[in-house]
Symmetry: none
Subunit: 214 residues, 4 copies
DNA sequence: CATGAATGAGAGTTCATTCAT
DNA sequence: TATGAATGAACTCTCATTCAT
């Protein structure tokens, strides 16, 4: 330890703060204007920096965008993994817990999540480097694996109807995607209230009943 | 009657043909390259016209884009309306029929449908004129109304659990959005097969069981 | 024949005129400011066009630059080839004629020639696409082949000392390069007079005497 | 005497070391990437310093570049001056010795020499301050004066044909320029071997025979 | 009706240079 | 002395859009 070391640490912290500053600004702008409409200049202004400064922290616009998404996917994968690995809850309880986990994930960063769902099927993805695309896809696959394993557990426990667990995992993803985008869309017209929790709860409730073994 | 009139009619037809020609070209390109990456020049080339000619038929690029979506929404609204208005089928049978209707809609024009779902919550929408946005929203609302009425019927018939029919209508929309985007996303990685029909069937099957009155 | 055809032809001519207009402007600017310092904006202004218009006629700045050089190299290769293929002159007479040919080439377009000699060994070349580089190199090689063949003829005629004809061809190229750059350099300080002809004459005179078989 | 004085001296030495460090780094980079493509950041990294540190030792990038060239020209002038001042050798022997001197100069710093020859007629020069340009020109003139004096001696000794000795001096310069650039150019395509010595030897051999008084 | 030609406005990105520390 | 961080000013290139013909 010593002065040099402390300096080093402080510098590192400064760097992280700046990165976050930029990522936050970018997030806001990608959300309000969309990825391609949000310019580096916009982001820089929002972050109270010069455009050139952005490039000290990110290789380019795509890198910035991908960073934002990857960061989020990692968090999401962790949450699903955590739920699946839980040894106390039954599959049914896990499905119930999923309601809160999904909403948690949404709340963790709604902006990015929406971007991510959009990214899923089009436009943006085609501009990303293959490397980045594969990173993102890999993370997405990890999420789905965890989900399907929960259903697998439920089937093995004899509480869920024998469906393909992968298909059921997909179903959660589909509900999540659809619900988030749809509620967001409604909020664009009438931004007053957030019905997402209710919508998710209902959807999973129904799904739970729909796959319960009789 | 007379020559002038016939000329007028022919002109009108010609116009419609050209418009369709352009819309078709645009559709293909928005699909392959995404909305912002597809240039007017690209579209013109695909339509075997000059870029300038596009502007004889559409006010601008966004107008072109919106036309594409509106056209599709109208078709979709019709289909839902048709199903709702059917006087022979029970609500349960209608829900079952919905499987095919949704897939039909998808098949009618997958490209636009995906675009439309993307448009739902972000990017594109913000660039459209308020007028266009409202047109699109109105059409979307019409679709959902028809869906919710089907559930209403089912509840009144005593065959569905008493949920808010609007929420159930939304649920279909959510499943449709999520499923289409998700299957599309999978196809971007591995374009071999189309699992959408199965996915939709399963989702609606499960939902149907989930809301069946006992 | 017909109107359409005439239109086509006129269009073609227009295009060529524009291209030439731009190439001429570029030439002047590359000369006065150097390749990397001359901006597209500069060139556009000099050509009395918008920067964007440049890109209608050339793929990018490097393409513009390479076009300029290739065009010239082709001319040069032709001249050397022509001299070598002459069936009337003896090798000695050809060497003598080379004095005028070289000066002719210089006069044909001094600006480009100087650029070309600079391009030869550095900076610029590294930015060009490999494809363009190879095109240029191929043309250069063709020039040298013709030159060496002239010396070969002289050696076979028994009028030149038995040196490697390729080395002698290189020698001409070396003299040409050195003389042009050096005279240009002098003219940058004192632009009054052009001593290149004298310098070339003297150099080739001396070389001729230096390789004469005794 | 005294501490202050010693400190002063040491500081001076430190400064010179750093300057050399930077010049060496710059040299390598100008060579590999060319002048305009080599960034200050590159140079700083190569010199294991920060970009800002460069500016403690050089006014700006052009100053750095000019320093590099001047340094070299001084060495070159010395070598030519030395040869000219030699009182033992005949002019013919000096011309012969020139073969080695030129190659020596090349070997002393090929990188800079090539840069210098490029600088001669274009691009770079135009960006330099008039002051720097004149410094460089003065040094160049000195070199040529020495060369011409060697030929003058030969003519006075009656061993060389009566040509303008200045023109003959230029000839050496021309051969040197041309040969170095040409061999470098060949090495850019096929970096295996260095034929410069042979080329210079042959060129001067031929020139020597070409101007020998009979 | 159709278009070739042109462009204004702006995008992302780079880099020599400065300055507080 | 040395530097990390920052930036202003440019640069190349793109594209939706217009207009004379």
């Amino acid at each position: 330890m010593g002065i040099a070391e402390r300096r080093e640490r402080e510098k590192d912290i400064q760097q992280k703060i700046r990165r976050k500053q930029i990522l936050d600004a970018a997030k806001r702008l990608f959300y309000t204007k969309g990825f391609s409409a949000a310019t580096i200049e916009d982001i820089a202004q929002e972050a109270e920096l010069s455009p050139a400064a952005i490039y000290l922290y990110f290789k380019n616009k795509d890198d910035l965008y991908a960073s934002l998404n990857l960061q989020f996917l990692e968090y999401m994968a962790e949450r699903f993994e955590g739920l699946y690995r839980d040894t106390v809850l039954s599959a049914e309880e896990k499905l119930d817990a999923l309601k809160d986990v999904l909403y948690d994930i949404f709340k963790f960063d709604p902006i990015i999540l929406i971007n991510l769902f959009h990214l899923q099927a089009s436009d943006g993805l085609k501009k990303l480097s293959p490397e980045r695309t594969s990173q993102i896809n890999k993370m997405g696959a990890k999420c789905l694996r965890s989900l399907s394993k929960i259903f697998n557990q439920g089937i093995e426990e004899g509480r869920f109807v024998k469906h393909n667990p992968i298909a059921l995992g997909d179903m959660i993803w589909i509900i999540f995607t659809g619900a988030v985008l749809w509620e967001e869309s409604k909020r664009m017209i009438n931004p007053r209230k957030d019905y997402l929790k209710q919508t998710l709860d209902l959807a999973i409730e129904i799904m739970g009943r729909g796959i319960k073994a009789t």
